[in-house]
């Protein structure tokens, strides 16, 4: 039976995780997770409290994640954890207290490399009644902060990590996992959404300080509603730069989306057709900015000019 995680007994959840029967349903995916660490349980209990969870799988999931000790010694001596999505990936074992990071990384790897039902693009996505905004950028370009800020302005958060583009109609599917925040962005987003929604920061990770922003209950309730894209943005953060938006030829936008996709080449022709549909229905811009306010202003200006309609 699927109910919200917080409604399950903590001991039952621990036992389901241990037996590898913990099933998390979100957007288009079911995730089967196994792991034994207390930090993982604490994290899930807090940040995933409103997600649909079952303690016994009723069918086979595409995404199977095993958070295991890298070797038998590491279960007992200075315990470590590394995500195992069932195929060989270069992952770094992390200290046990960083189990939340291992969990989120493992989930991202699984979605990025295992799922072929969507064109998966590394991007933040938010949407309102007019349509969705895709923000495709490398890590450190502020796309998570931007996603959180737009979600705070009333946009629905689809994901701060993946645009899931439908192969048939190029619609975007919501997949609202917690927003991952690094270093300075932790404080920035805490000021925007409030301290209650930010997880306890992990310090000293390979990526510096990391915290997760809990997704609003409202966004989770809407996580089954797809949206058509209206804007494709390629934000580029550069300290001190004067803010600028440059309109892109759709072909250029495609050539920028392809390297940001984790499975475009795997999917081949259907992906090409879907991405063409996407750039025909949405306008594409490259944004340069130095602060979150500037990027929000650029996006507001583009929308006001009617380009986003």
């Amino acid at each position: 039976m699927t109910v919200k995680l917080a409604q399950h007994n903590r001991r039952d959840i621990a036992s389901a995780l241990k037996k590898g029967m913990f099933t998390l349903t979100l957007g288009p995916f079911k995730h089967l997770v196994s792991g034994t660490s207390a930090p993982l349980l604490d994290y899930l209990y807090d940040t995933y409290r409103d997600y649909d969870v079952a303690l016994k799988p009723t069918d086979v999931s595409e995404i199977i994640l095993n958070l295991k000790a890298p070797n038998i010694l590491r279960r007992f001596i200075r315990p470590q954890v590394s995500p195992d999505p069932g195929f060989e990936v270069p992952t770094i074992p992390l200290p046990l207290k960083m189990a939340p990071l291992a969990f989120e990384m493992g989930m991202n790897l699984s979605v990025a490399l295992k799922c072929c039902r969507f064109v998966t693009v590394h991007a933040g996505v938010v949407a309102n009644e007019q349509g969705a905004i895709i923000m495709s950028a490398a890590s450190g370009s502020g796309k998570s902060t931007l996603s959180a800020a737009l979600a705070d302005q009333g946009y629905r958060l689809f994901s701060d990590e993946f645009a899931l583009i439908d192969l048939e109609d190029a619609m975007l599917h919501p997949y609202p996992r917690p927003i991952s925040l690094k270093q300075d962005s932790i404080a920035v987003v805490r000021d925007i959404v409030g301290a209650d929604r930010i997880s306890a920061p992990l310090s000293g990770t390979p990526k510096g300080d990391i915290a997760y922003c809990r997704v609003s209950e409202h966004d989770l309730l809407q996580a089954h509603k797809k949206a058509a894209a209206k804007l494709i943005l390629f934000p580029r953060y550069e300290a001190g730069v004067s803010p600028m938006a440059r309109k892109l030829n759709p072909a250029e936008a495609v050539m920028k989306l392809i390297p940001a996709s984790t499975n475009y080449s795997l999917l081949g022709e259907p992906a090409f057709r879907a991405v063409l549909k996407l750039v025909r229905q949405a306008k594409a811009y490259e944004l340069s900015y130095g602060t979150t306010e500037q990027s929000l202003q650029l996006i507001a200006d583009i929308q006001a000019s009617g380009a986003g309609r």
Binding site: D59, G86, L101, C116
Partner: protein
């Protein structure tokens, strides 16, 4: 895990009805790189979600096949008009021939075989078409080592596509303890339509797979090897099967083929294969190897011992002792991570 899991993977028994059991079979197939084969062999599983998992695996393999067929096209273009008879080996051959063994099979590098006298010319033509020495082996020691002792050139990587090709002039290392008659195999090679490329005839493709499995390497993924041999055997017609033992003796691959047939008979319950295996080799031969193989496949009680045995045996077969120890030592000292960049992964 029980050995019967392999029968389920090749579609000869049903996927378990229990969800957790079904998941563990799928996980086993995935971690042994045979989920794609399973996806093609299992007919219409009714459990929800299995079809998605299978479709993912099929797509992945299909993508590999596209890449590999394109590489063949490029090799054919690079050798255009040269008269070099290049024979596609292993996975590439299964794909080119549309064998059942290719369905769902992951393939990465392309392996080709040319006659020794064509080796230098082939290398030059490929280099002229933008293949360069792979940086992992582009050092004096490795280059010399390959050329002195191996049955292939140091791997070449295409500069823009990043794909790797291994150019063989023989099927086993120069230093190997067993010899197969490559010239006889080349004589009966069959052309691939649309390309200036060839593959071995089906019997020789099976024999080569057996030689590769049991006399060249360490059986890293035995489950995959066993499934592959089984599917390749199924691809042979009854007439071909009848001729297999004789052909294996002709080309000096009888020991390997006997082992392969033993596996197919024993693991997959094929009585005909068992009978053929007995004709080629007494059942008590190679008992250690058989035990180690089974143990490693199912990760059984003896698997740590089995892995050690198979590793040492793999090296022992490939080179004489006076070369083996310096080589292992060197490998141990000069170990380094793969230099090819890992795929660009999203960060949390």
């Amino acid at each position: 895990m029980k050995l019967t899991v392999l029968r389920c993977i090749v579609g000869e028994s049903e996927l378990p009805q229990d969800v957790m059991e079904a998941i563990s079979v799928i996980n086993y197939a995935d971690s042994n790189h045979i989920l794609g084969q399973m996806a093609h062999c299992c007919n219409q599983p009714s459990m929800i979600g299995v079809q998605d998992v299978f479709n993912n695996a099929k797509l992945r393999a299909k993508h590999d096949h596209t890449m590999l067929l394109f590489e063949m096209d490029r090799v054919s273009r690079a050798l255009q008009g040269s008269g070099v008879k290049a024979v596609i080996l292993k996975g590439g051959a299964y794909v080119a021939r549309g064998f059942k063994a290719s369905m769902g099979r992951r393939v990465s590098d392309l392996d080709i075989l040319v006659a020794s006298q064509d080796l230098a010319r082939t290398e030059n033509l490929l280099k002229a078409a933008n293949w360069v020495p792979d940086e992992q082996t582009d050092n004096a020691y490795d280059q010399q080592y390959y050329r002195d002792h191996m049955h292939e050139l140091p791997p070449l990587r295409h500069k823009t596509r990043g794909t790797v090709i291994d150019v063989h002039h023989s099927l086993l290392p120069r230093t190997a303890r067993y010899r197969v008659n490559v010239d006889k195999m080349l004589e009966t090679a069959v052309p691939i339509s649309d390309h200036e490329l060839w593959t071995f005839q089906p019997l020789d493709i099976f024999a080569h797979s057996a030689v590769h499995a049991f006399f060249d390497g360490q059986l890293d993924v035995p489950a995959r090897t066993l499934v592959e041999l089984k599917l390749l055997y199924d691809d042979l017609s009854e007439d071909e099967k009848a001729f297999l033992g004789k052909r294996a003796k002709e080309i000096g691959a009888d020991k390997a083929v006997a082992m392969a047939l033993w596996v197919i008979g024993n693991v997959f319950g094929d009585a005909k294969a068992s009978a053929q295996a007995r004709w080629l080799m007494h059942p008590s031969r190679n008992i250690m190897l058989k035990r180690a193989l089974i143990s490693k496949t199912v990760n059984g009680r003896f698997s740590i011992f089995a892995k050690g045995f198979l590793y040492l045996r793999g090296h022992y077969l490939r080179m004489p002792i006076h070369l083996l120890f310096p080589h292992l030592l060197r490998k141990a000292i000069r170990w380094r991570p793969a230099s090819s960049a890992p795929p660009q992964l999203p960060t949390p």
